[in-house]
Structure formats: C-alpha cells, structure tokens
C-alpha cells in the first residue's frame, strides 16, 4: 500500500526494509517471553472461565419456584433457520374462565443447532439463553434432542395491575 504513494530509492527501500524487519523481530521476541495463553482444558475444568458471549447450549432458565418466562409464542421456532426448536403448546382454561395457551414442551435439537443465536434474539420475554456448557459429546444422536422446560414447570404470571 505504502510503496505506491511513497517512492523509495534502491538504498532507501533497503534501509526501510531492514528497519521494518527489525521491528517485526522485536515484536516477536517480546511475544516469545510473554506469558502463554494456552488453556490446558481437561485439567483446568474447575477453573476454566469461558467468555460471557460464548454460546454453549440453548437453555431455558427456571427460577426457584420451577417457573420460566416462556409464553409459547413460537417466535423462536420461526426464527430458527435449521428447525431445531419445536414448541408444543396446549390450551388450558383459567379460573376466571378465559382460555390460555401455555407451554407443553420445548424441544431443542442440539445436533442440528448452529449457534446463530437468532432464537434468543427473537424471544420477546428473554425466556431462552445460551449457557456456557460445551461438553456435548454423546454416543447416540437421540440424546442430543433436549427438552428445555422442566417437568411441571409453568410460566411466571405477571402481577395483576391494581
């Protein structure tokens, strides 16, 4: 890039070349003595720290009362380019006689997921998120189809406005 607008003479380019090469060698010898960044994974499993934005497995956080945020709207299912998400809903009748759609099961196929995070972005309730768990190896593909909602869980009810 530089040589086009700045013309070097024969000796000028020689001196320039040598000076840039020594700059490079100075940098690399600094890296040589720098602390190494290698993580020794199976040994450091306990203190292994992943980045916050790392996408491990899709998960649905539940609170202590076994409640989640999912209202079974199915936006994540529509956003997924790979059809890895299958939201099954059922309709129940509440005490005051209204019909309401609730989540029956949330199935997620980890084997087909490409970790694009479009489902998380599409979710209006922040019901799903990617956690840090990345140890996915299993011997049977069917084990990769995960059910994200826990048994007997229900959606967190919004507080009625008074």
């Amino acid at each position: 890039m530089e040589y086009k607008d700045r013309k070097y003479t024969y000796l000028g380019s020689l001196v320039h070349g040598i000076s840039t090469l020594t700059t490079g060698m100075k940098t690399s010898i600094k890296v040589y003595f720098r602390k190494k960044v290698t993580e020794q994974y199976p040994e450091n499993r306990k203190e292994l720290k992943m980045f916050d934005r790392f996408r491990g497995t899709l998960s649905m956080p539940h609170n202590e009362n076994n409640e989640h945020h999912c209202v079974a709207c199915g936006l994540c299912q529509m956003a997924c380019p790979n059809d890895t998400i299958k939201v099954t809903s059922k309709t129940v009748e509440t005490e005051d006689g209204k019909k309401k759609k609730i989540l029956a099961s949330y199935e997620y196929d980890l084997g087909a997921c490409m970790f694009c995070q479009l489902c998380v972005n599409a979710c209006p309730h922040d019901a799903i998120t990617f956690d840090q768990n990345f140890e996915h190896a299993v011997f049977d593909r069917t084990k990769l189809v995960l059910k994200l909602n826990h048994d007997g869980s229900k959606v967190i009810e919004k507080k009625k406005e008074v």
Partner: protein
C-alpha cells in the same frame, strides 16, 4: 583444551595391534558412519522438538505438552506414527526416480554434515578444499528435490520442485559469495585450519563490518537454501499443499522432513564454524586468565551452543516473517543480496589487502 584425536588415535592403535591395517581402517570407517548416523538422528529429534516448542512460544502458546514431561517424547511418537504409515505411489509415477529422490536429499545432507568439525580432532572429512566440498555436496540436494517433483507425476509437485530449484540455485550464489568473502579473510579452505585461525578472536570480530554483512547475507541465503522460514515457498501449504513432497507418505516424506531440519542445523553450524569460531572458545587477546578459563569448557559444547544459537536465530526469523512470493524471493536475491555480497567481497578484499582487519 580436550583434543578428540587422542581418543581416535588410541582406537586406531588398539585395532592395529590385533588386525591388519586395511581391516582396521574399514572398521573405523564403519564406526564413524554409525556415529554419524546416530548423531544425525539425535540432532533431528532435538531440532524437531525445539522447532515445535520455539514455534509455540513465538505464537504465545505452549507447544507440545501431552506426551511425556513437557511433551519431550512427542518426536518419538511422531516418528513411530510416520513409520507405521503405508507407503504408496501415485499412478503413473516414475518408480525409480520417485524412490531415489528422498535418498538423494538425505545423501546430500549427510555429506555436508560430515564436513563439520565438532571438536578439536573430531572432524570426519577434513581436507584442504573443505569449503568447496561443502558447497558442492550441499547442492546435490536440489537434484533430489527436482527428482521428487518430476517422479511424482503431479503437476503441483513439479511446480513446487521448480520453485525450489529456482530458489536454491539462486540463493546458492549469495551463500557461496558470503562464504568466499570469509575465505578471503581466512586464507584457507580447510575447516580445521579455519577454526584454528580463530584462536585469537572469532572471524566475525576480526573481519568487523564486511564479516557482519557476510554473516547476515549467509543467514538469509542459508535459510532460503533449506526451504525454510519466509522462503518456504516450495512447500507453500496454502497454494501447493506441500510442494515437491506432496505425493510422499510415511518415511519417504520423513526423509525430506529430516533433511530439512538437518540442513537447518548444517547451515547454522557452518555459520558457527566460519563466523563464530566453531569449537574454539571465546578468546580475547591480552586476557590470558580469561582465555584459560574459557579453555576448560570442552570444544563440542562451544560448537553446539553456537550452532543452536544460530538455529534459534533462524527459527526466530522463520516464525516472524510472512512467506514471500516467488517474484519477491528472486528480487531479494538478484537485486539485493547478490550485489551486496559482491560489493562486500570487494570490501573484504580491500580490508585484507590494507590490513584493516584485527
């Protein structure tokens, strides 16, 4: 100063006392050959391990660390893997040349290796045109590379071999010229005399400016000659997938690999012998006490320390700079290195003629 010829003379006398001279010399030749092969193998293991570690450190990682302490038996595992691999030949390959090529490369490397003086009295090939022999023997390697490219019946291999041929033949010029510059200063081409001549100061200090220029030129040219560093274009993985040895598997490839690393060591040890005094300890004229202390360190330790220092220097260069294009390589050689080494030769001749050296 430990003189290795005491040992060799003792062995010679011992053999002469129990058998005729011809048989004794034959047995000595075999023993020297076995020692040479053993040293070659040991150095290859050390160099490959060192390369991987140094490469890792330059890239801010640890390098091999799984097999053995600090990954120390990694090379042994690599060799075992390589030896258990099947050797197969591409369809339509020239069988004879295909099989011959790795051996040509190895033979060139061995012949050059045998020239190097390891210690006082421990030089295998030591005759009055040693430097000439070294330059001649080292250029056999390019024949092996060209045969490999041609014999493989693969166009990419052929391109790789041609690139390598162009590169090695070009850079041999400036390598030879920088050695010639030093021959002017040294006044001899026998390796034992070259090293003896540095008893009162290594040639890089004695020849000052022209010697330093020759040293740098030699390092660049030597690095290019063993297809390493920023000059590893013949095996450019991104374009040619390993260039001239694409079609080699198992130990066929192993020999090329071995020769590359040993050529690196040979370049380094020739640089150490010619510029840094070989096995000669650091002597400073006038400081007799200091010189005497330095003499207590055996010669081969000095030699290997210097050679590995230069090896480290070459690895530093290799892992710092990006690969050059073929036109850049030839530009560097023909437009810069050759004129510089020619002028440098003239400069050195003037220095010697007018006595400007120390």
């Amino acid at each position: 100063m430990f003189d290795f010829s005491i040992v060799t003379n003792w062995i010679h006398e011992l053999l002469l006392s129990i058998m005729p001279e011809g048989l004794a010399i034959f047995i000595e030749c075999v023993a020297v050959g076995v020692c040479l092969v053993a040293l070659y193998a040991i150095l290859a293991i050390i160099l490959i391990y060192m390369e991987r570690k140094v490469c890792g450190f330059f890239q801010c990682r640890l390098g091999p660390n799984r097999v053995g302490k600090w990954g120390s038996i990694q090379v042994v595992c690599d060799v075992l893997k390589m030896m258990t691999k099947e050797i197969f030949m591409p369809k339509g390959a020239d069988h004879f040349l295909y099989n011959l090529a790795p051996f040509m490369v190895i033979i060139a490397s061995f012949l050059t290796f045998a020239c190097i003086p390891f210690n006082k009295g421990a030089a295998i090939l030591n005759f009055n045109v040693g430097v000439f022999f070294l330059l001649a023997a080292s250029s056999i390697g390019v024949v092996g590379i060209l045969l490999a490219g041609w014999g493989s019946n693969n166009k990419f291999s052929l391109i790789g071999a041609m690139r390598s041929g162009a590169q090695i033949i070009s850079y041999e010029l400036s390598a030879g010229m920088s050695i010639m510059t030093m021959v002017v200063l040294m006044g001899t081409m026998q390796f034992s005399e070259i090293v003896e001549g540095q008893a009162n100061g290594w040639f890089i200090f004695k020849g000052h400016i022209p010697a330093i220029i020759a040293f740098i030129t030699y390092l660049i040219a030597g690095n290019a000659e063993c297809n390493r560093g920023p000059f590893d274009l013949p095996e450019a993985e991104s374009e040619l997938t390993a260039g001239y040895h694409t079609e080699y598997s198992g130990m066929g490839f192993g020999f090329f690999y071995l020769a590359e690393y040993l050529n690196l060591f040979i370049v380094a040890s020739v640089a150490a012998t010619i510029f840094l005094g070989g096995w000669m300890p650091l002597h400073i004229v006038g400081l007799d006490g200091f010189n005497a202390i330095m003499d207590y360190i055996p010669g081969f330790i000095w030699f290997f320390a210097k050679a590995f220092f230069v090896v480290f220097l070459l690895m530093w260069i290799k892992w710092t700079f990006p690969r050059l294009r073929i036109d850049q390589i030839l530009n560097l050689e023909w437009k810069y290195l050759v004129p510089i080494s020619m002028i440098n030769l003239l400069l050195m001749a003037c220095c010697v003629a007018f006595g400007f050296h120390f």
